[in-house]
């Protein structure tokens, strides 16, 4: 990649250069990098609230019958935990933070196609978040339906479902706008010579994610709108008393919400595909296979939604078709896993924190994915549906998968984003309690599920007690690791050593510009002449 270094360094994007300064400059910025950071900070805040609620739920499960809080509060807790984690954390997740920050840089552009729309997306996100918080304290109080808002319960409960659902609607809007922006950017803003198959894999991941956002999110928007209309005007589409059908609600909800799980995981997989070659110092194994598998996950992933409804009383035909398609969608994930592992083969592996977390991602995601396959098999699903097994599965994929990839990506790009380096020792130290705690907590949950512990249960029967205690202790270890991790990064943003422009020896475009990047990313738009993971110059043969 042609050198784009300035002779006189431009001020970084972190320095205010416009007419506005301070907070105001940030709140009115249209710079994709600053918007990425706005997302990072706001999502972190919600994320910690969600984690806190998770811990309280674990505390509640420390006792069988006598509890700290009422059943109503517990129901509100898991609903709010789910809504925050899904709609405010993992769905916007990597695209909003790292997509915004790095997509233009990775394809050699100065910004996204619609910078002002980009800022608007963030405001929609914040508006949705505020509405979600308001729903806790207004109307009938925090919703108690679970994040799935199943009708008819969500139509009948006295809690403030309407506002919470409206919040999700607004958040969906934010997600769609980001999707539109990314697709247009990738089509229109690539640097000269940046063919489709010269794009880093993160771009492919973001591209396929954006398509899901576009094609699936409107369905949940209309579904949630119908729930609101149903609650206010009783239009009767989901209400069995009026001839409506609660199963239609489930279908529409999952038409979005299953693809949404791929909105969560695809960018995470993209980040992993960036990290592995950099630390193995060789091209990724099977570039095209990984690129196409992203697109096929996006495609086939839209066709499996009813595997969440196997016990709802669907037709036998639908049961068969959806179980079959669920198996098919697991194939592209398998392809990715094998390619990642092969990327390590005959590399020259520079073991660094981002790599550790990337490998942890692969391990935990495999457990999550394999349990997903178990759930997709009909005969097993009848047993584990709506038990803690499911809770274990999705924490493995969402937190072990997306969450760990977010960690890995943060560790990988932190020096670039902030121009500072963190203490690697402290990060290694945080990994141990996190890894052990994680598996105690969520593997424990899967055992509970096999034993027959239903999810969303305020009290549990005595035979489940031991495992619940183990899981709760696991959650403490996990949080210990989390605290060390974030304390390290926070410390580094203020007091960290200055980072080099290319601390890991990466070869994608972001490593050719200063850390932190200047406002305009590149002085001269680079001309691309080869694939993204070209380490040839490091070879001294």
């Amino acid at each position: 990649m042609s050198g784009t270094h300035a002779t006189t360094p431009e001020p970084s994007y972190l320095v205010d250069t416009g007419t506005r300064t301070g907070v105001l400059a940030w709140l009115t910025t249209t710079d994709h990098k600053r918007i990425g950071l706005l997302y990072l900070y706001s999502m972190m805040t919600f994320f910690f609230v969600g984690v806190g609620i998770g811990l309280v739920m674990r505390l509640v499960q420390l006792t069988t019958f006598q509890k700290l809080i009422t059943a109503q509060t517990y129901n509100a807790l898991f609903t709010v935990h789910g809504v925050i984690m899904i709609f405010l954390f993992v769905v916007p997740g990597l695209p909003a933070i790292f997509g915004n920050f790095f997509l233009p840089i990775l394809i050699g552009a100065k910004d996204v196609s619609f910078p002002r729309l980009n800022l608007a997306s963030w405001y929609f996100f914040i508006a949705g978040a505020i509405l979600a918080v308001l729903s806790l304290f207004t109307g009938g109080g925090a919703p108690d339906t679970g994040w799935t808002f199943y009708a008819p319960f969500s139509l009948k409960t006295g809690t403030n479902v309407s506002l919470a659902v409206f919040a999700a609607f607004v958040l969906g809007f934010s997600s769609m706008l980001t999707g539109i922006n990314f697709i247009t950017t990738i089509h229109r803003m690539r640097a000269p010579g940046m063919h489709w198959f010269r794009m880093p894999l993160m771009c492919w991941a973001l591209y396929s994610t954006a398509w899901i956002q576009l094609l699936a999110t409107p369905i949940v928007a209309i579904t949630l709108l119908l729930v609101i209309l149903e609650r206010f005007f009783g239009i009767g589409i989901f209400d069995p008393a009026k001839g409506g059908d609660p199963l239609l609600y489930q279908h529409l909800f999952w038409i979005y919400s299953h693809p949404a799980v791929y909105i969560m995981i695809l960018p995470a997989m993209g980040a992993i595909s960036e990290i592995l070659p950099t630390f193995a110092k060789r091209p990724i194994f099977g570039y095209k296979a990984i690129a196409f598998s992203s697109m096929s996950i996006a495609g086939v992933g839209s066709l499996v939604w009813a595997h969440h409804m196997f016990t709802s009383g669907m037709s036998g035909m639908a049961l068969m078709i959806f179980s079959l398609l669920t198996m098919v969608v697991a194939v592209p994930s398998a392809i990715k896993v094998f390619n990642w592992v092969s990327t390590l083969y005959k590399g020259s592996i520079d073991f660094q924190p981002p790599l550790l977390f990337a490998l942890t991602f692969i391990f935990l995601f495999c457990i999550g994915g394999l349990t997903g396959v178990m759930q997709g098999a009909l005969a097993i699903n009848v047993h584990i549906h709506d038990t803690y097994f499911i809770v274990g599965h999705f924490h493995y994929v969402m937190f072990g998968g997306t969450g760990m990839a977010l960690f890995a990506a943060l560790l990988y790009w932190f020096p670039k984003m902030f121009g500072k380096m963190y203490s690697k020792k402290a990060i290694y130290a945080s990994w141990f309690p996190m890894f052990i705690g994680f598996n105690m907590l969520y593997f424990g949950m899967m055992i509970l599920g096999m034993m027959g512990m239903p999810r969303r249960y305020y009290v549990h029967l005595p035979q489940f007690h031991t495992m619940h205690v183990i899981a709760t202790v696991g959650s403490w270890l996990l949080v210990l690791g989390l605290v060390i991790f974030f304390a390290t990064l926070l410390y580094a943003t203020f007091k960290g050593e200055k980072a080099e422009d290319n601390p890991w020896g990466g070869v994608t475009l972001e490593w050719t510009i200063p850390s932190p990047p200047p406002l305009e990313n590149f002085d001269v738009i680079p001309t691309i002449t080869r694939g993204p993971y070209h380490f040839e110059q490091e070879e001294h043969r």
Partner: protein
Amino acid sequence: MDWMNQAALSAQKSDAVFFYVFGLSVVFLIFITVLMIYFVVRYSKKRNPVASQIEGHVGLEILWTTIPLVLFLSIFYYGWTNYEYMRQAPRDAMAIKVTARQWSWSFEYPNGKQTKVLFAPLGKPMRLDVRSADMIHGFFVPSFRLKIDAVPARTNTTWFQATKPGSYDIECTVICGVDHSLMLSKVVVVPEAEFKAWYFGGEDAPEPGKTLRAAEAHPDLANQPMGLAVLTAKGCLACHSVDGKPKVGPTLKAIYGREAQVLVAGNLHTITVDDAYLRRSITDPSAQVVRGYPPAMPKTALTAQELDEVVRYIKTLD
């Protein structure tokens, strides 16, 4: 452990598939993990300072597309065929109407008998026609690996054939309101003769499986006041709270000695809640109906001793 308990044919069908997938998963997980660790150690910067610039390998791509695909399809097929078996009830199965409501289960047998606990003869197929009176609920018996949702305005059907006598938990798996987690019951599997004695016996035929259920009485219930234990066991707490919260029925907290308005044969009377009133409310609920509540309370058979305990317990609630 309860989950190792395969108490019905469906459990055997489900577990067979589970162990197949579990075995495959363990193999693949170990394979991938060991390979990762091996590569990281073997090709570390120290051991292998120069990386080979390998771009990929078409043959391998095809290999690891087809192998997982074939395995996944086998998982689908095995899971589906075993499930088809679990779904289709044999024709001679006894049909039970299962009704879910917030927050209790009730079972109606072909001859009209109604129970709160499901009694089942050992080794006989039982078909369950599951309905709901209000929200969606989920009918789940872990020991049978059996689950089906109760959806309002439709009937979902499933079946089982118990293979082991015993008393097994029924749990509700779909969030249906505050007391979702208390929406519990039992399937009591007894030898066929014992079942028949009850089923064909008169109104007052003793319920089967008494000894079974006493033996595994709830440990937490053991430490509770007897009266509360009775309230729990008889399902009173589905409609009454003991902490002042109104439910379907009025709370039982602090009612003793209070003045109350009741409807007796349609006329409003003001009475004071005393022992006699409580006893009558319980033994003949429709005689006096508390104002503002529906006459929804079912008649529940309590022994004289149980009645005494309940009344004594209600008096202590203030």
